[in-house]
Amino acid sequence: MDTLTTPVQPSLEHFIRVMLEVGAPTQIGETANGMRRYVPILGGIFEGEGIRGKVLAGGGDWLLQRQDGSTLIDARYSLETDHGQIIYIQDRGFRHGPEQVMARLAAGEPVDPSEYYFRTSATLETSVPELMWLNQTLFVGSGMRKAANVIVDFYITE
């Protein structure tokens, strides 16, 4: 196959780390799409280079457990910077790993995040003029599930 150019490897630049405080899951149950459960996002904090703030209460993650053993992540929530600027995040991706690892994770045991795959792609929306570039950038997330919270590092795909 003839190619136009040498592929340019996208690079990932760290943007923010978000810690989400999550509540007890609500089982929606076996729907037409699979086993669906809802995890409320109660709050949290975020911080990056020159930007920080809190996670607003009222978000959630509508997780879908699929038959292939992977879990689809579909999280929506809002951030508020220390300057009162609001950013809406839609974050979708996958979490999966060896059965034993996922069982330990489900039991709330500490698990090294390198033992499972927890990656997302995120779109951000804001009306803040200085942050307009967030609307025009695609982000990749790398997550860690902890007992009482979820930590996601968001990277700019450059």
Partner: protein, 187 residues
């Protein structure tokens, strides 16, 4: 290409930020990312043949048009490095929207067929945004072009495509008769 813009914004934020704050958090691993930064690896390189754009017209969300996908070919590799190749099945399209902020949203939906007979749906959505020139850094105006491809593969050896996050690039051919799509898996 995008860096100058984001660095500028970040610099502004640093100037605005107050000094000496600490995060008060019970998070055991808040401070430093103790995880390795995800890496990207090229897994699919597609030459997608395209037809003339069909104008849908103005809408509430912006100007819409679609680009017919008329065929093509691809090559790539599995996660273990085993080679894959095949063709682009004619009949898909890239549904495009020019947003009021000038960003072009792309949404290409089509199918590929591997040399060993698997048909895989490709859903490739993303952004084409203009990045202003930065004279101080001697950076010419450029474009930010990134997509988030997703796949629907049948059960079997291509199933990993259903379970990973990808990032993609788009390079148009000089004649406009095809686009080169590169798909990178996020490890």
């Amino acid at each position: 290409m995008f860096k100058s813009c984001s660095v500028l914004v970040k610099t502004l934020f640093l100037l605005l930020s107050t000094v000496g704050f600490t995060m008060n958090s019970s998070a055991d691993t808040w401070q430093k990312p103790d995880v390795k930064i995800p890496t990207t690896e090229l897994v699919m390189d597609l030459k997608v043949l395209i037809g003339a754009p069909v104008r849908v017209g103005p809408s509430d969300a912006g100007m819409r048009q679609f680009i017919p996908i008329t065929g093509g070919e691809f090559e790539g590799q599995h996660l273990d490095g085993a080679k894959i190749s095949g063709e682009v099945i004619p009949g898909g399209a890239d549904w495009q929207l020019v947003r009021p902020d000038g960003v072009l949203e792309v949404k290409a939906i089509y199918a590929i067929k591997t040399a060993d007979g698997a048909v895989i749906e490709v859903d490739n959505r993303g952004l084409v945004a203009s990045v202003a020139a930065d004279e101080e850094k001697n950076m010419p105006a450029s474009r930010y072009v990134r997509t988030t491809p997703t796949f629907k593969a049948p059960k079997g050896q291509y199933e990993w495509l259903n379970q990973r996050v990808f990032t993609g690039t788009i390079t148009p051919s000089p004649k406009g008769d095809f686009v080169q799509i590169r798909v990178f898996v996020i490890h």
